[in-house]
């Protein structure tokens, strides 16, 4: 049990405030290309009408 906990705990690490240089990189963000994703969502929402499921609005005309 202790060994399993130790193995699992290897994924847990304290990152100090001054060690966040790599985490602060643009390509480390959850959404590295927000503009591209918004553009793709717009096309998807337009083509699929109400099946977007993201935050896109409109009824499929592609005009919004």
């Amino acid at each position: 049990m202790a060994c399993c906990l130790c193995l699992l705990a290897q994924g847990c690490s304290k990152v100090s405030p001054w060690e966040r240089g790599n985490l602060a990189r643009e390509d480390m963000s959850i959404n590295p290309n927000p503009n591209l994703n918004r553009f793709r969502d717009h096309i998807f929402t337009s083509k699929e009408a109400s099946q977007g499921g993201h935050s896109g609005a409109g009824g499929g005309c592609g005009c919004n």
Partner: protein, 162 residues
């Protein structure tokens, strides 16, 4: 099991026991001065009011604070005020490139190993420690937001008047 839990709790809490706080003497730490390559020694600034500023190139508020800190330092230097900036970038060359494009007049040091922020137990970036003429930390300022300029200047002037 109870002993292990107790040890874990002690180890967790022990990291906070050495945090540099108001009223404590400024701790010594290892950082390299940008101009001479010598080691940083806070004893050299006794008799002066010193602002120790931790910054990094990946930290936008740090970079935002630098023009203000530079003008404050140049304005108050004659009264015995100095700023010691400690850059904590893992790659100091990134900081050097930034400083070449955005030069500052105050003392710059590099600490790519994170020794100084570890000794001070820095809680946020940027963090500023205002040290009085006797070497005692009088203010710990976390972050840099609009309006912080007046607060920092007020504290500096107060310590310079002592």
């Amino acid at each position: 099991m109870k002993k292990s839990l107790l040890l874990a709790v002690i180890l967790t809490l022990s990291s906070h026991a050495y945090a540099t706080d108001q009223g404590q003497t400024v701790p010594s730490c290892q950082a390299t001065l940008a101009d001479t390559g010598a080691q940083l020694d806070f004893n050299a600034y006794k008799g002066k009011v010193v602002l120790v500023d931790f910054w990094a190139t990946w930290c936008p508020p740090c970079k935002k604070s630098m023009p203000f800190l530079n003008s404050l330092r140049n304005e108050k230097q004659k009264d015995g005020f100095e700023i010691v900036a400690i850059n904590v970038d893992e790659n100091s060359d990134e900081a050097k490139q930034f400083l070449a494009a955005n030069p500052v007049d105050y003392l710059m040091t590099f600490d790519p190993n994170g020794n100084c922020p570890g000794v001070f137990d820095v809680k946020a970036m940027p963090s500023s420690y205002l040290v009085d003429k006797t070497g005692t930390v009088r203010l710990v300022h976390l972050g840099f937001r609009d309006g912080d300029e007046a607060t920092i200047q007020q504290h500096v002037e107060k310590l310079l008047a002592e």
